[in-house]
């Protein structure tokens, strides 16, 4: 049962920011797919919610000044079908296909997925390898924070209580970039990730890679980039030896958590296996799609 709360219903973004400015105890509500569950379970008890899911200013995907800009209230289902995302954020689109279930995807928003601060947010690893930034707006100011600095702990972010996440953006990828996302869950749909992983390669020439980015979700208190492995891989060719070393390094450098879905030891083992597999597939130019299907993650 939901407890009682007050619900503010702003019609415009300025009105919403005005309302947010009046009290630091107003909690933004967008899709509600996490927040309402917490309210029912008495995990959080905000007195006042503000519904920002319907604000037009927070909708839409556009490309401007070399960036892809996604409004924070764009739903996961919208992203799954968006042509701009298909072109400029393929790795993110892969994640939307295995995100929760169709009902949740229709409600859940990209901004909410990040602002909730869950280590298992499935949108986070793809956005981390896209080098995404989070746009935060309050009544009188706007600032942009790199995503890797945005989430600071379990359900903790740098968002000020009077700020709203208004957009997510990332620089348009250079030609020859390729990314892949993989989710490991205990069930094929409707499962919180045991591990989610995104990998992005930027090609320098036919052999070498200018940059390799790897991000992991659901293994640490926040979604993380695995810098030591990235550094090892960037600049050179992806030989089986270097991939194996990087996979090992990714696992060793991660302080994995244990929870109801898996132990730290299991997580460390599958990090090695999956980093190795995704890098190998990308290096060989094969599509991860085949493997995703073999594990039955249907869109």
């Amino acid at each position: 049962m939901l407890p009682e709360f007050e619900l503010l219903m702003p019609r415009t973004l300025p009105e919403a920011l005005e309302m947010m400015n009046e009290s630091s105890r107003v909690i933004p509500l967008a899709g509600g797919t996490s927040l309402l569950v917490d309210l029912r379970g008495r995990i959080s008890r905000p007195q006042m919610l503000i519904n920002i899911g319907g604000l037009d200013e927070l909708r839409g995907v556009r490309v401007e000044e070399g960036y892809v800009v996604v409004g924070s209230a764009v739903t996961i289902a919208d992203l799954k079908h968006n042509v701009l995302i298909a072109k400029h954020g393929q790795v993110l689109q892969q994640a939307t296909r295995v995100f929760a279930n169709p009902l949740v995807r229709n409600r859940a928003t990209i901004g909410g997925n990040l602002a909730y601060g869950s280590p298992a947010a499935d949108a986070a690893p793809p956005l981390l390898v896209l080098d995404a930034e989070v746009e935060l707006t309050c009544k009188d100011a706007k600032r942009t924070v790199p995503l890797k600095e945005f989430i600071t702990g379990v359900r903790e972010t740098v968002r000020h209580p009077r700020e709203l996440v208004t957009a997510i953006r990332w620089p348009i990828l250079p030609e020859g970039s390729v990314g892949v996302f993989h989710k490991l869950g205990l069930r094929k749909a409707d499962a919180i990730s045991v591990l989610s992983i995104a990998v992005m390669l930027h090609r320098k020439n036919t052999e070498d890679y200018a940059q390799v980015r790897i991000a992991l979700g659901a293994v640490a208190p926040t979604p993380i980039r695995v810098t030591p492995a990235e550094e090892l891989l960037s600049g050179g060719p992806l030989t089986p030896e270097v991939i194996a070393r990087a996979a090992q390094l990714a696992s060793e450098s991660t302080h994995a958590i244990s929870d109801i879905r898996g132990s730290a030891a299991y997580r460390k083992r599958v990090i090695t296996a999956l980093v190795k597999r995704l890098l190998t597939n990308l290096a060989e130019g094969t599509k991860e799609k085949k493997h995703n299907e073999s594990e039955g993650y249907h869109s």
Binding site: M1, P3, A189, D190, G262, S263, Y266, R269
Partner: protein, 747 residues
């Protein structure tokens, strides 16, 4: 109508010291605590005969024994107000030590969860938290093991998984001006709900009317009268208003589970594969209440000796209280647990003896002409229909059994394997003599003036198509078109007793009752028609006239002596004579095994430990198949639930008795449609058998469909990676740990 909410204990074991409900009452809620409830100890499940029924439950008690147990309840004008009121109640608890492990609970000095319970009408002391125990022995077990050529053994651990039935437990209760109650509950037995409410609240049964509500699935979760029903009744009686009480999904997940148990099983055999002996020990975690542990202990060995012919058996079962959700029947009533253990060891035995495990099964299974007692030692039957060889051979052909790899011979990241599990469930708990389990059905059938028929039975349908099957049985028996057979809405005041839809008995026993009533009706039709047609009744018969779209009474040798059922019933009516109707009770004198055989092919990802279902072939011997589409649906459902039991579902409690998942389904991992094999990869087949004791040759199917599934998965995983698992679920993590251990041992 008022809306109810329950105040659940946050502690798994505590005495309730004080309840202050003034704040809740101040906002207009009606509140009940144990002070408002008659002090009647009862058992939610009254299928066991009264003289040996354990009773340890009160509607509301001053002691809670599991997290989430009801302490108080409220009713208010809206659900929101009720929620507010329930949160305004203040309770002081004396928190007691919590026992979640049955083995620790039995240790000397462990905190007693109960001091006494009722057994029949006698108060008995509970020692070492042991609710009950049973030892059963036949033959010369020591000799069988001493003379055995080979012995296999294993300790199997099975978890307390949640039913995850479609509807959460719910009731609407309306107090009546005569002091009675009308009740709309989620239940598998309207009559047992009626009897219990009458006993607890001391209301004559003639004033308690319980209505059948369509429900979409139970998996055994509502065989017993669940806690919200009497709580709702107590609220309605105190408020003098109708009350609705529905558990949230999270509350429901705390309410009941499958029986958790540890089974230690040893099988002894001769070199040629003949099974000669078994030793079995079961420690059963029954949770906070004894719902039917005594019967459960009986069937636990019953399933074993009814799977395979084992002349010498020694069994000891112990049912132990813990501070967890009460265990109750869940699709199979202990059978999936025992079949998992037995079918795993049969496979091991075959490997040791280097015999094809399918042949080993055929050599030893309990089949045609054999005596078996699946439902416990007092429920003995002779097998009269047996499709096992057909199912095994056809299934083996369809899956490619003879081409399966040698266990553990696979290499590479993905490794495939094929596994077989076979099993059965009894259709009903019927037997020639009464046992310690009540099993009989009743039905009425009546002919309407237009030749249509009403069927009146208290049998429940949980979405499996049971009532549709009953309509077909009546249609066939009376030669009436199916669309002229009406399954009447049911309530306790106008139906005869039917024990409960469970034990795979709906079609077999419930169907047996409507067939008996239909046959009596048929005699009545013929006798009445004989009067009008001036023909001896026994010279008359019935047929379906498709042009007239109704049944016709006729005698083959005199073509003009005929009348339709409509003409017959209309004359009885217009001449102010009678309604042609019949009412019967029916006790099945047999409980034939409904056999099911499952072959699955899996692919194990040795990098992540994930197990994928590649293909499944299921075969069912349910005798005559009455509704083929619904029967296939039962098999598909059995595979899905069985795969969940084998691979995904577990319920863990922390040491302080909290459900680790919090009851949230996201981490309970019931299999969804995405886990179900693609329709092209699923094959279902039916054996060509006829059960002489069943309605038109039918047996049951429901529980049989799940019983061998977990074993088939475990055997398939063993075939793929050469590792045997003794604990369910076989999670990716367990697979990886086992693979790593194997690598270490074998380099």
């Amino acid at each position: 109508m008022l809306h109810g909410r329950v105040l659940s204990s946050p502690y798994a074991h505590a005495c309730v010291k004080r309840i202050d409900a003034t704040a809740a009452e101040a906002i207009g809620a009606v509140v009940i605590t144990f002070n408002d409830i008659p002090s009647v100890r009862y058992n939610e499940r009254i299928i066991t005969i009264p003289s040996v029924l354990h009773k340890d439950h009160y509607v509301l008690a001053d002691k809670v024994r599991r997290m989430g147990e009801a302490v108080a309840a409220v009713a208010a004008e809206t659900e929101e107000l009720a929620e507010k009121a329930v949160r305004a109640i203040k309770v002081e608890y004396d928190v007691l030590p919590v026992l979640t492990d049955p083995i620790k609970a039995m240790k000397p000095g462990a905190t007693p969860i109960y001091d006494t319970v009722l057994w029949g009408e006698n108060e008995i002391e509970i020692e070492h938290n042991i609710a009950c125990a049973r030892s059963i022995e036949q033959g010369d077990v020591d000799r069988a093991f001493a003379e055995a050529d080979v012995v296999v053994e294993g300790t199997f651990n099975l978890s307390k998984v949640y039913h995850a039935q479609m509807e959460t437990k719910s009731a609407i209760c309306r107090p009546e001006p005569n002091g009675g109650l009308t009740v709309w509950p989620t239940t598998q037995s309207i009559h047992n709900v009626r009897i219990l409410l009458g006993q607890i609240f001391d209301i004559p049964l003639s004033k308690v009317n319980v209505k059948r509500v369509p429900i979409g699935g139970t998996f055994g979760s509502s065989i017993q009268m669940n806690p919200p029903i009497p709580i709702c009744a107590a609220l309605a009686l105190k408020a003098h208003r109708p009350v609705k009480l529905t558990l949230t999904r999270e509350e429901d997940a705390h309410d009941h589970t499958r029986y958790g148990e540890q089974i230690h099983l040893q099988l002894a055999a001769k070199k040629d594969g003949t099974l000669t002996g078994a030793k079995m020990e079961a420690i059963v975690d029954i949770g906070a209440h004894n719902i039917q542990a005594y019967s459960f202990l009986g069937v636990t060995v019953g399933w074993l000796v009814s799977l395979y012919k084992i002349p010498n058996v020694r069994y000891h079962g112990t049912a132990v209280y813990t501070n967890k959700a009460p265990s109750c029947a869940m699709q199979g009533f202990g059978n999936p647990q025992v079949t998992f253990a037995t079918e795993s060891l049969i496979e091991e035995l075959a490997e040791k003896l280097d015999i094809d495990s399918l042949e080993l099964r055929l050599k030893n299974y309990v089949g045609l002409g054999d005596t078996f007692w699946g439902q416990g030692p007092l429920v003995r039957s002779i097998v009269e229909s047996d499709g096992v060889p057909e199912l095994l051979h056809r299934g083996a052909e369809a899956i490619g059994w003879s081409d399966r790899p040698k266990s553990g011979s696979g290499t590479g990241r993905f490794r495939s394997g094929i596994g077989l599990g076979r099993g059965f469930h009894t259709s009903s708990a019927g037997a020639p003599q009464p046992g310690d389990v009540i099993d009989f059905s009743g039905a009425m059938v009546k002919l309407n003036v237009d030749g249509s028929v009403d069927v009146i039975t208290a049998l429940m349908d949980h979405g499996g198509g049971t009532l549709e099957a009953l309509n077909r049985i009546v249609s066939e028996a009376l030669c009436v078109p199916l669309d002229k057979v009406n399954m009447a809405p049911a309530e306790t005041c106008s139906t005869v007793y039917d024990c409960v839809t469970h034990a795979t008995r709906g079609v077999y026993a419930g169907g047996g009752a409507v067939l008996k009533a239909a046959r009596t009706l048929r005699e009545e039709i013929l006798t009445t028609a004989a009067h009008y047609l001036n023909v001896q009744a026994h010279a008359l018969t019935l047929k379906l006239n498709k042009d007239l779209e109704q049944g016709v009474v006729y005698t083959p040798s005199i073509p003009d002596r005929t009348m339709t059922l409509s003409e017959l019933a209309t004359r009885c009516w217009s001449e102010s004579w009678k309604t042609i109707a019949a009412v019967e009770s029916y006790r099945p004198v047999n409980c034939p095994p409904a056999y099911v055989t499952v072959f699955v092919e899996v692919k194990v990802d040795t990098w992540t430990g994930l197990v994928h279902t590649v293909k499944a072939v299921m075969g069912s011997d349910c005798g005559t198949v009455i509704c083929p589409a619904m029967a296939i649906g039962q098999l598909e459902g059995g595979l899905s639930k069985g795969a969940g039991y084998a691979l995904y579902e577990s319920n863990a409690w922390s040491t302080d008795g909290q459900l680790v998942s919090g009851g949230y389904w996201i981490d309970s991992k019931t299999s969804g449609i995405s886990e179900t094999p693609h329709i092209d990869a699923f094959t279902a087949g039916f054996a060509h058998t006829y059960e002489p004791s069943g309605p038109f040759g039918a047996k049951g199917i429901g529980e049989a469909a799940i019983n061998p599934v977990a074993a088939a998965y475990a055997n398939a995983i063993h075939n793929a990676i050469g590792i045997r698992f003794y604990e369910l679920p076989i999670t990716p993590e367990k697979v990886l740990i086992a693979l790593k251990k194997k690598e270490r041992i074998h380099g």
